[in-house]
């Protein structure tokens, strides 16, 4: 063992000696002058603005603003869509403005087409506002896009299929009401709740998946129940595990 170490030390000394034979190089004659020139040039240089922190700040503010925007959207799912609310706010009685309501247009005097034309000019005339259920789909299909912010006040088109009068006999089908309060339900002899949007009216009021909805505002529900005129949510009756519960809508 000692011999090995001795050999290693011997080799290392020889290597060190070999390296020691390398000639030392000197700094060039103008070394000091060049160093002083560098020092002088850097001393004169104005402190430059570092753009990295500025850029990072701008990006951070933009990200925060975007996140804030998304947050506001997710915490206010019932915020009215500007087009709809602006159109109906003037038509809505002040007493029901704070309630979760669906408003059918007031019957217009027969024979007077002018106000109706004006009203339809104000509000969107396409079926975009109608849920797919109104366009022939099922309630489940209608609820697929239930995540979009729902207008508190909803004005269905007066030219719905099957409504030939065109003079304000609008009825609001139960499917639309269910969608409006944030419930996905299927008819199984009763409206059985599949899922509930927790932040929507039904969710806040205590409706849970599995409940069977018997009545809304005291009106018993069938598959084809519809609400005439304006709908203003007040209460909902559900059956849960055989127990009947009357829940008040919480706006």
């Amino acid at each position: 063992m000692d011999r090995i170490e001795e050999k290693i030390n011997h080799d290392e000394r020889r290597i060190a000696k070999l390296i020691g034979t390398l000639r030392h190089v000197e700094a060039p004659g103008d070394f000091d002058t060049r160093v002083r020139a560098r020092i002088a040039s850097r001393r004169d240089k104005k402190p430059s603005i570092s753009w990295r922190p500025v850029l990072a700040g701008v990006v951070a503010v933009a990200v925060l603003a975007f996140v804030g925007y998304l947050g506001m959207r997710s915490f206010a799912p019932n915020a009215p869509e500007p087009n709809v609310s602006q159109t109906t706010a003037t038509e809505q009685p002040s007493s029901v403005q704070n309630q979760h309501s669906i408003v059918a247009p007031a019957p217009a005097p027969s024979g007077s087409q002018a106000p109706q034309t004006l009203a339809s000019d104000k509000r969107p005339t396409t079926n975009k506002l109608l849920p797919p259920a109104q366009q022939g789909g099922s309630i489940d299909e209608a609820s697929k896009d239930a995540h979009r912010p729902f207008a508190k006040e909803y004005v269905p088109s007066q030219h719905r299929p099957g409504d030939n009068s065109g003079l304000g006999t609008a009825e609001i089908p139960v499917t639309m009401v269910l969608e409006a309060i944030g419930v996905r339900a299927t008819w199984n002899g009763g409206w059985q709740v599949n899922s509930v949007e927790p932040k929507n009216v039904a969710g806040r009021s205590g409706v849970r998946p599995g409940d069977i909805i018997d009545a809304i505002n005291g009106q018993p529900l069938s598959e084809t129940t519809s609400f005439k005129g304006s709908f203003s949510g007040k209460s909902i009756r559900v059956r849960r595990d055989g127990v009947v519960l009357d829940l008040a809508f919480k706006p």
Binding site: D11, I15, L18, L22, V25, A27, F31
Partner: protein, 210 residues
């Protein structure tokens, strides 16, 4: 009145000025901090050649070594306020030079990688052996020595940087193990081990000279 007595008032003792070349490194740095430019000139005259030589043996490129040696002094000058006299100035300046040299090596490595991808085709990365000017007539033995120096220099330059720093500081610059440990910010045992390992690698490369 006592006519025979002479009153002497000592108002101050004029200390004789110590020549720059006899002042310690710390004294020179203190003087530089207080605006004495000649003190910094003395610092440069003490370390410019050792630092240049150290960087040259580290990088095997004289122009780059001179450039980095100058940069080392510039960094020292602008960091004088942050320099603590708790450890030797030589350690401090070698550490700066080492960091610069390692950064340069990494920059070269990146550049070589880019040149492999074709972005810098035609750039010559091969370092050339610098020979200090020597006007004496060359003899055969000197020619052999020059060739040997080139081989040794290339062998050192091919070492991994962690061994290269240790070997160059020890065997080229003749620094103590303790100083090298401080420069490399390593323990004494690790430092000795790296020197030994570096020499072992060199032995394999320089087998023909034994």
């Amino acid at each position: 009145m006592d006519v025979g007595s002479i009153e002497i008032t000592v108002t101050g003792v004029q200390q004789p000025r110590v020549p720059d070349e006899r002042r310690t490194d710390h004294a020179l740095i203190e003087a530089t901090r207080s605006g004495d430019e000649t003190a910094f000139a003395e610092v440069m005259s003490r370390y410019r050649s050792p630092i240049t030589n150290y960087l040259y043996r580290f990088l095997n490129d004289y122009e780059e070594a001179v450039d980095l040696a100058q940069e080392t002094f510039v960094r020292v000058y602008f960091a004088l306020d942050r320099y603590h006299t708790g450890f030797a100035f030589s350690t401090y300046i070698y550490r700066i030079a080492t960091n610069l040299a390692i950064s340069e090596l990494r920059r070269r490595k990146r550049r070589r990688l880019l040149s492999l991808t074709g972005l810098f085709q035609g750039e010559d990365e091969e370092a050339t052996e610098f020979q200090p000017p020597d006007h004496r007539q060359l003899q055969d033995a000197e020619l052999v020595n020059d060739e040997q120096s080139k081989v040794i220099a290339r062998a050192i330059a091919s070492l991994p940087e962690k061994y290269r720093v240790a070997v160059v500081l020890r065997d080229v610059e003749g620094r103590s193990y303790e100083e090298i440990a401080e420069i490399m910010q390593l323990g004494l045992g690790t430092t000795k081990s790296r020197i030994s390992r570096g020499r072992g690698l060199l032995k394999d490369k320089l087998e023909s000279y034994f």
